[in-house]
């Protein structure tokens, strides 16, 4: 165990709130688990050595990157700085309730405690760390049949040199609909774990975004976990930029029949960044579908890791599952590690996965240059096209419109380092 963790566990053990029994369980599991090394399958390609003796401030100095406004998004904004809810919860549409986890009313605690460790597999080492240490965070409840027409944007920022643990818990009642944007960004040196858990009720629909844009020296480890009930639908998009260490685990559990999940993820890496994405789709019930598209562009001396697992349980007959991972490798010093996994125990299913790694098509490049474009322009255009397909598929086009200039800027940076 690292000295940082021993220290953190001491702090966590001292916490006494309404979630303490759950935290205690996680603490015990954590003490039984081994500190992840390169020999741990889930951390084979990403080292967390830098955390072993790291020290971070526990309290905020109050300086953080101010959140950007997103034009026309008209979102319900919740600002969390270092995991603590800063904005006042104003008037909410009827059927939508939001609380700070610390101030959860007694009558909401029972289900909230269940959700707290309900969707996230206990094998996630830093998920357990988050269980123990995330004392603040938000709780969002959408009542049955309620369609929340404004997106909920949870803006998570870190202050310089600080360690923080953020938790988002959300429940959608049956037939409910909601859009949630988890907006993590910042360039400051910080360490954060950001985990979110969703229970999607019968026939409910969740549109989900995780903007994972902590860059520079930020160490960012997080996860999004979903329990999908009967006939519910999830549409999730993950946008990633790398940092000195970025790790994200997406887990989708089809616990009810006829649930559908669509998962798109793309990441653009530059400098010496690392982005490590693990996804796991558990088809536990029958007749579910899942479609996953992951694309990565890796430049300079950055590293991309992708592990995409599809697990079809014995009873999950008639499942349709697809996973596609495509990567563009732009530099001689960059590295890509990909592992699409299938684990299938039911026979009447259709499953497929594919993975490719290559550089930009030389002929396409030549074609554009022969039409008068500079090589740099042509490269940006082709890489942008590679990603844009997924940007176009984002259901919320206001968010996509805000994202595009960010991506363009990133492409220009990537180009200049080559």
């Amino acid at each position: 165990m690292s000295t940082w963790l021993a220290n953190a566990v001491d702090r966590g053990g001292a916490t006494n709130d309404w979630l303490s029994p759950k935290r205690q369980q996680s603490l015990e599991l954590l003490q039984q688990s081994r500190w992840p090394t390169r020999k741990t399958e889930a951390w084979k390609y990403t080292s967390v050595n830098m955390l072993v003796d790291a020290t971070f401030a526990e309290t905020s100095d109050g300086i953080f990157d101010a959140p950007e406004l997103i034009d026309n998004l008209d979102s319900i904004d919740l600002l969390l700085v270092d995991g603590v809810l800063r904005s006042d919860i104003g008037d909410l549409p009827s059927g939508l309730s939001i609380y700070s986890i610390a101030d959860t009313p007694i009558e909401q605690r029972e289900w909230a405690a269940e959700v707290f460790t309900g969707a996230k597999p206990s094998k996630h080492y830093f998920g357990l760390v988050n269980d123990v240490l995330a004392t603040a965070g938000v709780l969002i409840d959408v009542a049955e049949g309620v369609k929340v027409d404004r997106p909920i944007r949870v803006i998570c920022r870190q202050s310089n040199g600080c360690e923080s643990h953020t938790r988002i818990l959300m429940r959608l009642g049956s037939n409910a609909e909601a859009v949630i944007i988890e907006d993590f960004a910042g360039e400051v040196k910080s360490f954060n774990t950001g985990f979110s858990e969703y229970i999607v009720g019968e026939s409910a629909t969740l549109e989900h975004y995780r903007i994972a844009m902590n860059t520079g020296e930020a160490i960012s480890i997080g996860g999004c976990h979903f329990n999908l009930n009967y006939r519910s639908a999830l549409n999730s998009t993950v946008v990633g930029l790398g940092s000195s260490l970025s790790r994200l685990d997406i887990d989708v559990n089809h616990i009810g029949e006829y649930a559908t999940a669509k998962l798109n993820a793309f990441y653009l890496l530059n400098g010496s960044e690392t982005f490590d994405l693990h996804s796991s789709i558990e088809h536990i019930a029958a007749n579910g579908t899942s479609e996953e598209n992951v694309r990565g562009i890796v430049a300079d001396s950055s590293r991309a890791v992708f592990n995409g697992r599809i697990h079809i349980h014995r009873n999950a007959q008639k499942t349709l599952a697809e996973l596609n991972n495509r990567n563009l490798l732009l530099s001689r010093n960059a590295e890509i590690y990909t592992k699409p996994e299938l684990e299938i125990y039911a026979d009447d299913v259709r499953c497929a996965h594919g993975a490719t790694i290559a550089e930009i098509d030389k002929e396409a490049l030549y074609y554009l240059q022969s039409r008068g474009m500079s090589k740099a322009q042509a490269q940006i255009m082709l890489s942008f096209g590679f990603i844009n397909e997924l940007v176009d598929q984002m259901p919320n086009q206001n968010l996509a419109a805000w994202l595009r200039p960010h991506l363009r800027r990133r492409f220009a940076e990537m180009e200049s380092t080559q």
Binding site: A334, I336, L342, A358
Partner: protein, 478 residues
């Protein structure tokens, strides 16, 4: 349908008989002394014994791997006998006529008539029975061509320079737990050397047979194809039906020097255990090839036997323009577990590799493909294509795919595809509507599913493989 699957599961293992041959077998147990005795039995030179002892020390420091997707009772390495030889081997036969007739009958039963049919088929055979190589056919004819094909124990005596130079050069002693064990206790196996520019005049073949109870088989095969040479090598395996699990931990090393080509084909039909998973062979094998400039190594395997298989024939594409191929059909039924695949390590420029893996799971078995494709920083213009298809028969089995892809070179291209499906009702309907019965239809569909691999096998093996698959699938789909 379930009934028919059950029927299929009850199918007897045809090679499950025991041969009543007097044999000399070491008492179970493993320590330095046993290794010294093995070495002494083989009258090995000192360097060989030292090499074994070093491997044994290494093995003692290692831990049994647990990462494979298989579940089996831990092996008690002290309960295994590490040496067993037919007694009549004490005076090694000079020719076939002197071989114990019971032994020959065993091979006859297995469908390996050592002499007559080989004459017709033109295949040279080295037969390994438990721990020793019993007979090698066609040695003179091969000798004329300059090809060395003999038991490895003999090669240690007669060609020590070659053995010293290449043994352990592809699979180092501490490569993995079972390879280290093999280095310490290997008893026999085949040795092949093809001289420069020679095309081996016939196909070489080894048949492995475990006969004695409580013995492990640890064979070691070393094939060296010198510059510009070519060889095709076949390997087949069977074992009697026994209630205890038996360990087979072999190491195969292939060295393809510049412009050489090695084609290595395996039909593995070790005893798979009964329908409840009792007995059967633990097949923990390390197979690896090194390809130098412009060399080509092609692994083809048909895996239908063993209770637990743990096998990854690999290619290290060290030289520029070298080629690695892996074609595999793995069929599991009953309680069998297979975790098999390949590693393609691209080091040289313009290296190419192709992986075609077909997994068929039936009964309550689990069949996993585990593969690694690594593009090193120097592998400019390297290319890999991987295709893994799984076919599920019945709803109690599992099919899994664990491919690792690692790239450090932007000019390298890697493609991986995997699909999983079952024999579809539509396919069955179409075949049956054209007058085929269900069984023939399944056999035809499965054969079609495996065609890409079967066409890579030498003809005699392709026939055998097709037959094996057909028997294994008998009645498994309705």
């Amino acid at each position: 349908m379930t009934e028919q699957i059950d029927q299929a599961l009850e199918r007897e293992y045809e090679a499950g008989f025991v041969s009543d041959i007097e044999s000399e077998t070491f008492a179970p147990g493993l320590d330095e002394d046993v290794i010294r005795r093995i070495s002494a039995m083989k009258s090995e030179p000192d360097w060989m014994l030292e090499w074994r002892l070093k491997a044994f020390k290494t093995w003692q420091q290692m831990e049994e791997p647990e990462w494979a997707h298989v579940d089996y009772q831990k092996i008690d390495f002290q309960a295994i006998s590490y040496y067993s030889a037919p007694k009549s081997m004490a005076d090694k036969p000079k020719s076939l006529d002197e071989v114990d007739p019971e032994l020959l009958a065993t091979y006859e039963k297995l469908g390996i008539p050592l002499l007559e049919q080989q004459m017709l088929a033109g295949v040279a055979v080295d037969a390994v029975f438990d721990s020793v190589s019993v007979v090698t056919t066609f040695r003179e004819k091969l000798w004329e061509a300059g090809v060395i094909f003999c038991p490895i124990s003999e090669a240690v005596q007669e060609y020590p320079e070659l053995v010293k130079k290449y043994l352990g050069s592809v699979v180092p002693q501490r490569d993995n737990y079972f390879a280290a064990l093999n280095c310490a206790v290997f008893t026999d196996g085949s040795f092949v050397y093809i001289p420069k520019g020679t095309r081996c005049p016939m196909e070489l073949s080894t048949y492995f047979r475990i006969n004695e109870q409580n013995t492990g088989q640890f064979e070691r095969t070393l094939i060296i194809a010198d510059e510009g040479s070519h060889v095709s090598y076949l390997e087949g395996c069977t074992a009697p039906q026994r209630d205890e699990n038996q360990l087979h931990a072999a190491v195969v090393e292939l060295v393809a020097l510049d412009d050489a080509e090695i084609k290595y084909s395996t039909v593995q039909n070790w005893y798979p255990g009964d329908e409840n998973g009792k007995g059967g062979i633990y097949n923990f094998v390390t197979k690896r090839a090194v390809c130098h400039t412009n060399a080509k190594v092609s692994w083809t395997q048909v895996e239908t036997g063993s209770a637990v298989t743990w096998k990854y024939p690999s290619c290290i594409l060290r030289g520029d323009n070298s080629i690695g191929e892996f074609y595999s059909v793995a069929l599991t039924r009953g309680m069998q577990q297979a975790d098999t695949g390949t590693k393609m390590i691209h080091m040289g420029k313009n290296t190419r590799s192709t992986i075609i893996s077909k997994g068929i799971s039936a009964g309550r078995s689990n069949n996993s493909y585990r593969g690694l494709v690594r593009m090193g920083p120097r592998a400019d213009g390297a290319r890999n294509f991987t295709q893994c298809d799984s076919l599920l028969i019945g709803d109690q089995c599992g099919a899994h795919t664990f491919p690792y892809v690692e790239t450090k070179n932007p000019t390298a291209i890697v493609e991986h595809e995997a699909t999983t499906s079952k024999v579809s009702d539509d396919q069955m309907f179409l075949c049956q509507q054209r007058g085929l019965d269900a069984e023939k239809a399944v056999s035809m569909i499965v054969n079609g599913f495996c065609k890409e691999v079967f066409k890579e096998l030498p003809m005699e093996f392709a026939v055998e493989a097709g037959k094996l698959l057909e028997i294994s699938l008998e009645g498994s789909v309705g």
